[in-house]
């Protein structure tokens, strides 16, 4: 394996220094052998390898949209060294067999570590618990459980899930969407949905579930994670719950930090996502919540879809957008450049905290310092790039950022000292 001597890199944006990546760990640059590959990283910053708690890799079942191989390539290009693969595959990842399959595919691909998320209920049907313990004990060591795509809406089932996963230090990641309030819902419910004649997805449908779940988590003393928080009311509820000492964590997605529901007026389903794009006030509240730590992490909700599922009328289109390759740039644009967050804050929200929540922080989400695993991203915050969907490593092209100029560029990604990306290209 190559050894990399990275010169003049600003770790977390600090004073430039040198890093040696050797034998899968970060080593003292003074020990660099003469034949080490030297990377001039002047002007670049180093961040710990990013960890995504919410990725849809679509395999098994929808290999026309994404595979573990293509999805982890996109992840590496986005600076990720670990992703949590959501359970809504076909078949659903609700048994030890399926999660081990996904885990093995990740190992074979080798672009980043893949941690399968297990379904909370059999077939995501919300009726009875899947074999959570078997998935936890499997080779995939599942710790995050989610019916994402669907809400665990039954209060008793949610309570039991929260309780049950305590036995193996698991967490339930809830897709908070009250189903009866969102039948056929198409976009954020507000003045615009009324005008466009698209069925509304009201904020209360998310907030009602979050309110219930934080109270349940408090009652049974369990750990709760809230997926893709999208409304200002949700931020308020989570802030309140944390103030009460509830063991709750929450994520925001890049698209909810940048885009608003006004885009639905195009009727172009490239902007159709679940939960939907919300108002500018919601976007501001999410940014503020992410800055003050109410929202713990950024998670991509990378959701690939084949062209035909987006090249149609709005109501017929699939929900979801790509996110892995653009996440860091959007966090820079919405959080770092306006001064809401420094690079240490980005490392916390995109690496340390998601690794802690997913219980993988023995290997990921570690500081960039001597003796730690060499999971490192080199990033050029001064670069600017125009998003061109055809350049994506994903099998799908459903990025809402087409033609948009975004700041920053991932120059290199290292997974345990091995380059997965060099010069901005897959290594």
């Amino acid at each position: 394996m190559s050894e990399y001597l990275i010169k003049n890199v600003a770790v977390l944006g600090g004073t430039p220094t040198d890093l040696l990546l050797r034998d899968g760990v970060i080593a003292d640059p003074a020990d660099a052998p003469a034949d080490a590959e030297v990377i001039d990283a002047s002007g670049l910053i180093a961040l710990p390898g990013l960890v995504d708690l919410h990725t849809h890799l679509r395999e098994p079942g929808r290999e026309d949209a994404e595979t573990v191989e293509t999805g982890t390539r996109a992840a590496a290009l986005g600076g990720f060294t670990a992703v949590h693969a959501m359970a809504n595959t076909e078949p659903v990842a609700d048994t030890a067999g399926v999660v081990e399959q996904v885990w093995r595919l990740g190992r074979e691909a080798g672009y980043c570590d893949v941690y399968p998320v297990g379904a909370v209920t059999v077939g995501l049907d919300g009726e009875r618990l899947a074999e959570l313990g078997a998935m936890a004990d499997s080779a995939a060591r599942v710790r995050v459980f989610s019916d994402d795509g669907r809400c665990v809406s039954d209060a008793v089932l949610m309570r039991r899930a929260l309780e049950y996963v305590k036995a193996f230090d698991g967490v339930v990641a809830q897709h908070a969407q009250e189903p009866r309030l969102t039948v056929d819902a198409q976009m954020n419910e507000g003045e615009l949905s009324g005008r466009l004649g698209l069925a509304g997805w009201p904020a209360v449908a998310e907030e009602a579930i979050i309110a219930r779940d934080v109270l349940l988590a408090q009652h049974v003393g369990s750990r709760l994670h809230v997926c893709h928080v999208s409304t200002s009311g949700s931020v308020e509820l989570i802030r309140w719950a944390k103030g009460k000492g509830v063991d709750v964590t929450a994520e925001a997605c890049p698209h909810h930090l940048l885009l608003t529901d006004e885009l639905a007026a195009t009727y172009d389903p490239i902007y159709k996502v679940n939960p939907p794009l919300r108002s500018a006030a919601d976007v501001a509240a999410l940014q503020e919540g992410l800055a003050d730590g109410t929202i713990d992490i950024v998670a991509t909700d990378h959701a690939p879809h084949p062209h035909e599922d987006k090249d149609c009328e709005w109501a017929a289109a699939a929900f979801g957008m790509l996110g892995l390759e653009t996440a860091l740039s959007i966090v820079q644009q919405t959080m770092v450049d306006p001064g809401r967050l420094d690079w240490a804050g980005v490392a916390e929200r995109m690496s340390y905290a998601p690794a802690r929540i997913g219980r993988v922080s023995d290997r990921h989400g570690r500081p960039v310092q001597v003796g730690e695993p060499a999971n490192v991203v080199l990033y050029d915050p001064g670069a600017r790039r125009t998003i061109e969907p055809s350049e994506s490593a994903s099998l799908s092209r459903n990025t809402p950022y087409r033609g948009m100029e975004l700041p920053g560029r991932v120059v290199a990604t290292f997974l345990r000292g091995k380059a997965t990306v060099l010069d901005g290209k897959l290594a």
Partner: protein, 318 residues
Amino acid sequence: MKRHLLSAADLSRADAELILSTAAELRELADRPIKKLPALRGRTVVNLFFEDSTRTRISFEAAAKRLSADVINFAAKGSSLSKGESLKDTALTLEAMGADAVVVRHGASGAPHRLAHSGWVRSSVVNGGDGTHEHPTQALLDAFTMSRHLGQGQARSLDGRRIVIVGDVLHSRVARSNALLLHTLGAEVTLVAPPTLLPVGVGTWPVEVSYDLDAALPKADAVMMLRVQRERMHGGFFPTAREYSRRYGLDGKRMATLQDHTIVMHPGPMVRGMEITADVADSDRSVIVEQVTNGVAVRMAVLYLLLGGSTPAVGGEE
């Protein structure tokens, strides 16, 4: 000039008045023995209907034929929401046929917008009713009918007129287009409905909103009753059909509180006994049958101005 008519909001006051005055000229044709004009000879108009609506389809068909256009009726019934690609595939087929204008009726809100802006077709797109979004030519024919009765055919005569629209505003494309167009034409619109059948954000529309039909009726110059679809009764929007009729239906007793000149309208098809009683629908105030005749003239005006008019006028630059 705008190549498409997708929303009543696309129309400036001048655009709308030009359509209505053109429609008035074309309306006179209806009383002549030869009803045909050569204006769109050699042009092709496609009626692309993903939803069954015989009356709207026939109206557009008659309009195009009276302007000597070739008409192709394309019924792509029921295929769309389950399989989204059919809208695009159908559009590409039409493009190959060389359609100059496509009138599209679709169950999905925004489908005409998608057709016009996706690059699938080059023809002009006319929204013939999309989902719960809009139905701009219905609003134009309603305004045309009102202007004939309330102001000797002058569109300007709708200035300050009070129009009461009653019923399922939430799911009504007719209500949305009418609210926009009538406001553009200077009328004062009041929407009357139970709160469950009003969209969120209706407070930002350029209209008054009331839950009380009896209070709204005496001041009205025109009353438009919207259809209440049977399936809404199972959606919990109101307790029973009987209670709905009692609170929001137009019956003879309520009709008696109207001013002498006030007209009663309905975009059809009516649910007699639900939102309107038979004696009201068949009364002298009812202009429901005339709405159908006016529909042809208004749609002729829209097609003429979009495709052939020497003074193209529907909307500004896109």
